[in-house]
Amino acid sequence: MKKVIAFVLALTILFTLGACTQTGPTSSQTPASTPGATTSAGGDTSTGGDEIDYSKLKVCVLIHGLLGDNGYFDSAAAGAYRLRDELGVQVQVVEMGKDSAVYEANLADAAEAGYDLIIMGGFRWSSIVMETAQNYPDQKFIMYDNIGDFKNYNIPNLYAYDFAAEEGSFLAGVLAVEAAKDQANFPNAKAGDPLGVLCSADEPMLNNFVCGYLQGVAYADPDMKVLSAYIGNGQDTVKAKELALQMYSQGASFLFTPAGQTIMSIIEAAKESSGYVIGCDSDQSTLIKDSDPEGSALTITSMLKRVDNTIYDSVVAYAKGELEFGKGVPMGLKNNAVALAYNDNYLNTVPKEIQDKVEEIREKICNGEIEIWRASDKTPEEVTEYRNSFLPN
């Protein structure tokens, strides 16, 4: 009898671990074409006479979550595998899972294992990265998705960069307003309908998406109304779908969805209520093109966070000795770190005039002609007040 218990327990542990151990290459990631993607595609390694030997470079990418999210984490892993496949960098991707208690230990282990570079995301866990960087001054670190706190930590060995999510979201807002006016190409939208934004949680980093979107909407049409809602977490698919259905039934025809793993359930809601979705983080429309053509068609485009490109670029810059450690850099539309996905669906359904307008505004943001404020620089009350000013009376 004891053997049976032992067997069952062993099986449980095996399966639980199976979900969060290190993984091999995943080929499911579909890279979406972004404007000016050439900046990072080539890598430009062989321009000079002196070749850089990438095969000696050892890089560790720590994933502070579970792979297979078709978004943020998969994108980081894809960047790492591209380094390995295209340049021959020795890459180790460690999937740390959802248990945040092990992050610090894993990071310290990696720091002692003798990698040239350690890369980890700073979303929610920036203090762990910065503390470890402080404890291992000889080890180089890259932290993505957080600007870093270089005043309170002594970390000249850390390079941090942040995604200007508000810039990409601004474009999504402009696109939503323009598309909502265009009933010829988007027959399910009605004049005078509000727009909507459905976000996973009410916290500063995620409100950057929401407020960027709202600013874009206000820029394109100051009188436009926007409904907003928060799911509360990134897993609750039932709540996400109910909220989306609720917002569609209140008339919102376009939903912008910085909602993590639950975006697929929002697309299902869109199918049921004939609404439109602007996805987030990765290119959902291309991802479900074959398995779900109807949902794919309703997902006009996505606001991409190109973790893969930026990791690739910064490692290449490090190899060339160009990476400036000890500072935090914001990366936006200009660096191609965030972008709207110019996928087939976008190119075919969105009329040329709107595409041109979006492109024009993209250039204005890159030039600095349009300034966008960040929700993470404001107090929660200010953000709430701004959000509520868009609600219909």
Partner: protein, 309 residues
């Protein structure tokens, strides 16, 4: 205020409540049978989650939702019987065993998903058949109440029969009587010749089948694909609904309605300029209040009973 009332009593709110209610009904009916037989199974969450994936796989492999549903039911029964074996024959702690099932389901589904599809997030790459939705012809023409019979999944209508089945089985059949007897006092039950284990196995099998149906509804009615950890606490909410309703069929159903409505209410309120944090806590607040009221009533009753003695 008018806007709130209008939205709250609209057809949309009613149908949203019914969709969530269907989920909770399957869960809480399974829990009712478990509790009545005397063993609480917190592995319900895991059974729902794993049978949701099994339903997808069955339906994808055979390209038929009926096959998917049957697979889910068989899987639910199997897991439930394993739980029964561990608890009754091997005398393991039922809470620990339930936890193990939940962990097994959470990790195992991701494992199975990645083996089958190469992805660990969702099953969108294996399109499967979902259960049809239909409208009941004559009843849907009734002016106000018509919305109750319009455009729901097959599983929603089936859940009504499940409630009826559980009610009749527990209250009116010899098997139900045995299950209740075993639940109240296994020793006395066995002294009058009832095979405690046999009755409990039967109860577990029925409860597992119902939970399997709930899982199938999740991926073949409510959603049309499987997402990792998609149950997000529905199993636990069902257990709470069951306990709040005093583990009776009608009570569990009524508290499921309350939970479903509280959920939908919080969604509706959120889009109407109410504070997000306050509103997201609403379903839990309702739970605490109701538990308090029920506890208070029971306490008063007990006091009276003791005075009489």
């Amino acid at each position: 205020m008018n806007l709130i009332l209008d939205t709250l009593f609209s057809a949309n709110t009613v149908s949203a409540t019914i969709r969530v209610l269907t989920l909770l009904t399957y869960g809480s009916m399974a829990a009712v049978i478990n509790v009545t037989s005397g063993v609480n199974n917190i592995g319900l969450e895991g059974i729902l989650l794993s049978s949701a994936l099994i339903a997808v796989i069955g339906s994808w492999a055979a390209q038929s939702w009926v096959v998917g549903m049957l697979c889910a039911v068989v899987w639910g029964i199997a897991i439930s019987l394993i739980f029964g074996y561990l608890v009754m024959e091997l005398k393991t702690n039922n809470i620990l065993c339930g936890l193990a099932i939940n962990m097994f389901a959470s990790g195992g589904t991701v494992f199975l998903l990645s083996v089958l599809t190469g992805q660990k997030g969702s099953s969108i790459s294996i399109p499967h058949q979902v259960a049809p939705r239909f409208t009941i012809p004559l009843l849907s023409d009734i002016p106000v109440l018509g919305v109750l019979f319009t455009d729901y999944s097959f599983f929603t209508y089936l859940s009504l029969f499940v409630i009826l089945f559980v009610y009749i089985m527990i209250k009116k059949t010899p098997l139900g009587l045995k299950i209740r007897a075993v639940g109240l006092n296994p020793n006395s039950a066995s002294s009058v010749g009832i095979g405690v284990h046999k009755v409990r196995y039967t109860a577990f099998a029925i409860s597992g089948a119902i939970a399997g149906l709930g899982g199938a509804y999740l991926t073949m009615g409510y959603f049309s694909s499987f997402t990792r950890d998609m149950t997000a606490g529905i199993g636990f909410m069902s257990i709470a609904a069951c306990n709040m309703g005093g583990a009776t069929t009608v009570g569990a159903f009524l508290s499921s309605i309350l939970f479903a409505f509280a959920n939908v209410f919080s969604n509706v309120m959120q889009s109407l300029q109410m504070s997000v944090d306050l509103i997201n806590g609403f379903p839990y607040f309702i739970t605490i209040i109701t538990l308090f009221v029920i506890g208070f009533i029971n306490y008063q009753r007990k006091k009276k009973w003791e005075l009489k003695k």
